[in-house]
């Protein structure tokens, strides 16, 4: 077999032509009145109860709606598919469903749909990520076509918050396509319906013209674009390709705010950063002594970290884990002051005049600047005589060690539970999978708070727990972070929540 010179030359020409062919892909024009949102990832599923990842939930929730809604603007629980809800007993909630609401395939949204959606929510094989919230539910029963009774196993103060997690699906369609099929082609009652999903490229949604509520104003189509790279996401926002870009890096905020048509929205995050200071018997270290844990708290200059690493865009915790807006926050508690002399004195008092040595574990690539923050902390601790052996962990290994209580004796972590104080403090109950403290008094307070329905009594319980934790110092109280969203200045009513969730049903895009 041989190749003539002519055919060789022809091959060269053909390869050049291939270039032209490849570049001749059809151009796609963007329709008017489109809101384009750039998130880090393409959703894995558009069924909101399929995962707890915010990128999935934000997109999926535009189609499939929950029973109730926690409004990020004021934190209040508001009606969604349940129009009214009332406690009819210590463990029973009566839900009155919104009448005349249909799924976009024509199925009626009624008690049958809600009962079936609960059945899925309660099955850990189908909703493993929500089993923790479903655990409180005893049974769900239909009263009439628009009334449902939900019974919990015990008095449950976070009842409403749990109901914001239950997404309602059309029973006949669900049964015909199953969990996986539904995640790929969801049908809901929300302001949008799915029209196109090109994996890893775009999710396109058009307005649901029969939406029961007012719905968003100024746009009739939403395109969700997965843009994993921070630089590319910010660049696309500034060039006008995107109206919303999530997770904007701190270093880009000023540049974006200087733009005529773009700005950055700052949302205090639910994520609370802290140092685990294990006092469990199975984790031998100097941290068993409360005074050593308090010394660690005194040795860290939180303000310096917030100002220098986060350009001031983080908030101090005031020596407690609950945020100011949460029930049980105690305004009388103050942060451990940055005081090296006091830290050294406490160490000496605890029998360590020459300081101590600790292993300090931290993730690399899980939180913004996790390595930088950890290195800064290690440097500060060293000045107080607390020498650390730093161990950097890949995020997957970090999570495995967290769950197996291996993040000991000291580790940098940010925890972001749901907005109820119980979800926050239950993480320190001795029975909790990744609790690094065992204290019977604290356990008692956490249990009491989890069962107390009276708001005033519940506040008192959590404030007491907060003061106890401040004194015990099972963690070093560091700071709360912010989430940053780059948005089109023409966008109004866009209020993200501290769990990186945002909603479109009351957003306006001005012309």
């Amino acid at each position: 077999m041989s190749w003539t010179r002519r055919s060789f030359a022809a091959a060269m020409v053909v390869s050049s032509l291939a270039l032209a062919t490849v570049f001749a892909a059809p151009a796609s024009a963007q329709a008017p009145k489109t809101l384009t949102i750039a998130q880090g990832f393409d959703p894995q599923t558009l069924w909101p109860n399929g995962t707890t990842a915010s990128d999935n939930l934000n997109a999926g929730n535009a189609i499939v709606e929950a029973l109730l809604w926690a409004n990020p603007a004021d934190g209040k629980i508001e009606p969604m598919l349940a129009e009214k809800w009332e406690r009819t007993g210590p463990t029973t909630m009566k839900l009155s469903l919104r009448p005349n609401v249909s799924f976009t395939n024509g199925e009626a949204m009624n008690a049958d749909a809600v009962v079936q959606s609960f059945a899925v929510f309660l099955d850990p094989r189908q909703t493993p990520a929500y089993a923790n919230y479903a655990a409180a539910i005893d049974k769900v029963e239909k009263v009439d076509n628009l009334t449902v009774l939900v019974h919990t196993k015990f008095p449950y103060p976070a009842f409403e918050l749990m109901l914001t997690q239950v997404y309602i699906t059309p029973p006949a369609y669900w049964n015909s396509v199953g969990l996986q099929g539904f995640g790929q082609k969801p049908i809901g009652t929300g302001p949008f319906r799915l029209t196109e999903w090109v994996k890893d490229s775009r999710v396109v949604m058009e307005r649901n013209t029969a939406y029961w509520g007012k719905g968003p104003v100024g746009f009739n189509r939403v395109i969700w674009r997965p843009v994993p790279d921070d630089t590319a996401r910010v660049a696309g926002l500034t060039t006008g390709e995107y109206d919303i870009a999530t997770n904007v890096p701190i270093s880009n905020i000023q540049d974006i705010n200087r733009q005529r048509d773009r700005r950055v929205i700052e949302t205090p995050s639910y994520r609370i950063f802290q140092l685990i200071l294990s006092s469990l018997e199975e984790h031998p270290s100097a941290l068993h002594d409360k005074r050593v844990r308090q010394a660690v708290n005194h040795a860290i200059d939180k303000k310096a970290i917030i100002d220098n690493l986060f350009e001031g865009k983080a908030f101090a915790l005031n020596g407690q884990l609950l945020r100011q807006s949460q029930l049980g926050y105690d305004p009388s508690l103050k942060d451990y002051a940055f005081d090296l002399a006091k830290a050294r004195a406490l160490l000496t008092e605890a029998g360590h005049p020459n300081g101590i040595e600790l292993t300090f574990k931290f993730p690399t690539g899980r939180y913004a600047q996790d390595r930088e923050v950890s290195e800064a902390i290690a440097g500060m601790l060293a000045k107080a005589g607390i020498r650390t052996r730093m161990v950097s962990l890949e995020p997957g290994e970090f999570l495995r060690q967290l769950r197996n209580r291996e993040l000991q004796p000291m580790a940098y972590i940010g925890l972001a539970p749901l907005d109820d104080p119980d979800f926050q403090l239950a993480q320190y109950r001795s029975s909790w999978r990744y609790a690094y403290i065992r204290n019977a008094e604290l356990d008692g307070l956490i249990d009491a708070g989890a069962r107390e329905i009276d708001v005033a009594k519940r506040r008192e319980i959590y404030q007491k727990a907060g003061r106890l934790m401040h004194d015990l110092a099972p963690v070093a109280f560091l700071f709360g972070g912010y989430d940053f969203y780059g948005v089109n200045r023409k966008l109004e009513g866009f209020v993200p929540r501290g769990d990186q969730r945002f909603f479109l049903h009351n957003v306006t895009l001005k012309p």
């Binding site: 010179r5 894995q44 655990a135 994996k199 994993p228 060039t239 390709e241 999570l399 990744y434």
Partner: protein
Amino acid sequence: MASYILRRLLLTLPVLAGIVLITFLLARLSGDPTDLLLPPNATDEAREAFRSVNGLDRPLWEQFVTFAIKAVTGDFGTSLRFEQPAMQLVLDRLPATAELAAATMVIALSIGIPAGVIAATQRGHMADGLIRAIMLLGQAVPSFFLGVLGIIVFATWLRWLPTGGRGDWSQLVLPATTLAFNLVALIARVTRSCMLDVLKQDYVRTARAKGVWESRVIWLHALRNAFIPVLTVIGLQVGLLLGGVVVTETIFSWPGVGRLAIQAIYARDFPVVQAVVFVFAVIFVLVNLVVDLLYALLDPRIGYR
């Protein structure tokens, strides 16, 4: 020829089987995906349910046997993250990666070969020096840096091109050029050195003595003979290209296999990782088989039996 191809194809089978086994074991060495795919506060019951649904609770050898039996039929299992067939996820994204790789190759060849030829024929002159300097730069600059630079200059400052995505031809320019930059340098370097060797050969002198036009001597007589080593390098670079798409696709939000791979690795989505590595391995083996067959086309002295 046909029997040669058949023999080569049969020889790839043990290679692919080995790759499947190694990928299976390496993926599992990285740890349990349950930690990454369920929130840290998931209940033990939910974790057990997840592990049992996905077969992660069974002994490793049993998992491998189940996987291997299905893999023979092309079923690489269900993605832990997407809950869809892993091989389907990869094949869905293959056209995007193929488009990017093809555009990259075309750019690399149409710039790299002429640049190498010009550098060789102008050896020691300014053009040679300039091309060699650019080649050095091309091989030294990493693609993640080049990609980000491209976005800042051509998308943000000049607003000539979009920042990423796929659909419009303009969205292909930046990722393909970024990916091609490194390859251009390599192809130009190899072409230059091969051309320098060939230009010293007797048959080139003979062609010139016969009065053949210089351009014909260089572009047809010499280049064709210099092309075999270049082709070998291109075949081997397919591996580098497939590795390069992982970074480039992530920077430019290109919906290809590379991006799927990196997400699967971070989430420990074993079935997808295995399917991606298998598909990449098949492509690599086949491209190199094609390269071997092309030798025979370029050089009549080479024959396969």
